[in-house]
Symmetry: C2
Subunit: 302 residues, 2 copies
């Protein structure tokens, strides 16, 4: 393989091939070694009631929601999902290096889907109190936040008082108009480009993509302003959105995310900071919060 | 529009609609106001000999090259292009949130395209001396570099001695195997995800995409390891690669990039740092080097 494809990432292949278990609290390891050494205690199962399944014609996208950051917003989305608000709506926007967004193309017109018992406005959950979170700090000189790190597998920032989720690739958020209470959860978006961190604390983030990101990131870009599709034929239909606990067991994916509060995860961060693979001749020795991988897997069969 | 689409970016639309000329050295302006106020002196024409045109079945991708950072690498690519090395080769890899990459699928085999008078190995241009560049510093607490900024429209970093281009979205680089001199320019890649800044100074960057980025970013992701396509039928053919000065005038695009060494550009940075649009309730007041837009336009008709 090394002669056939002299490419960027041969060292990653080599690292995977040379993976072997190793111990924490030693010299930094390679990513492959960290992953190989991870045991069941390093993973957390995703709760079905926090897993959101969006069925598209191309396949399913699965999100994990973070009620520790946006409980009221997620409760409102749960009401929308329970009344099947999203089923038959559409992805209406794909802007390159920014977002895909979906909701009701008829919002604001007489043909709009009713929100039923879900609220149309919500007190915005742009941030929360920094206390009471399992915040694992990352040693990173962040361009935007005083401090960054991870909370239960989600990237996050905090200052002296507040904590918030950060707009990294694959994060799920709630579109809103100019009024801060206008984000009801009826319009959702996913970040598909370089992290637009200036949105942090200005929009409510509610989770992240675990499965099927490529179904969103490869959508044709809309040719209208801001990447909106100009013709309804360009929309992608949302066939359904369901919470995991609404699905029959046979349709649920048993997913695990790597815990971010363990020595194993600290090893992972060190591996990605110091890049011991031979390919790297000048390892950064530094890392950004949106460059730390947050591994996901299907639960292994015992 | 504000009632029809209660979405993330209504304020951007409002800002565009309310654009009006304004002066530099005052309070920060909106991005729309900065763009409206930009005059001919704020733009630089792209030299045809630094413009690279890659024709794909879906359309053309145009890059601007940066010989001030990688003169020997670009000279070698010029030799490859002049002998039509790339014509008929393929995009062989698309890895989500990372890169697309192209070159000779038969590299390393007896069927490989010969490199002709181009070199197979090159002394790597991972960085250069920091002196002698038109470096416009950006006030940013960067996660990776001591200092970041812009050089002639390209994002860059520097330390006490060295300067280098930074791996932002849309940057063009030279794939290599583990030997540092193995990046000949016969394998090229473009960043299609969150900036993998750990690659800075470990790979040779040579330019950035000006036109057609969406043709690369929406390519189906490869299902093999590292996003390589598993079947040749999945490749995208490279119909041709040419420098602008090789093309008939009728096929050249007359492109301009915004200068990054002007008060206008400093206004642009301020606009994106302070976000005066009504939509933002908690402007960051900070910015990352890969979040600063670097505007491109076709030269206006006088």
């Amino acid at each position: 393989m090394s002669t056939k494809n002299p490419m960027l990432s041969l060292a990653f292949i080599a690292a995977i091939l040379s993976a072997q278990p190793a111990l924490a609290d030693e010299e930094p390891l390679t990513m492959a070694a960290v992953m190989a050494a991870a045991g069941p205690q390093d993973w957390r199962s995703v709760e079905p009631e926090n897993a959101l399944y969006m069925q598209l014609p191309q396949g399913v996208v699965v999100f994990e929601l973070a009620p520790q950051f946006a409980p009221a917003t997620i409760a409102n989305i749960r009401k929308l999902v329970q009344q099947r608000f999203f089923d038959g709506l559409a992805i209406v926007r794909s802007q390159d290096n920014y977002v895909v967004q979906w909701g009701d193309p008829a919002a604001g017109t007489p043909q709009a889907m009713p929100h039923g018992d879900a609220a149309d406005t919500l007190t915005p959950e742009f941030y929360r109190d920094r206390q009471g979170l399992n915040f694992e700090p990352l040693n990173s000189r962040d361009s935007y936040a005083d401090e960054v790190g991870f909370v239960d597998g989600f990237p996050a920032g905090r200052d002296a008082d507040r904590a918030w989720l950060t707009h990294c690739y694959g994060m799920l958020g709630v579109g809103r108009a100019t009024p801060v209470d206008s984000g009801s959860g009826a319009e959702l978006y996913v970040i598909t480009g370089h992290a637009p961190r200036h949105l942090d604390r200005n929009v409510v983030l509610i989770g992240r993509v675990l499965v099927g990101m490529e179904l969103l990131s490869t959508l044709p870009r809309g040719t209208g302003p801001l990447g909106f599709y100009e013709q309804p034929e360009q929309f992608t239909e949302i066939q359904s959105i369901r919470f995991g606990n609404e699905l029959p067991a046979s349709m649920q994916m048993s997913l695990q995310v790597m815990r971010t509060d363990t020595d194993r995860f600290r090893d992972l961060v060190a591996a990605r900071t110091h890049r011991l693979e031979d390919w790297f001749t000048d390892p950064a020795g530094r890392i950004g919060v949106c460059n730390v991988p947050l591994p996901v897997r299907t639960t292994p069969v015992e």
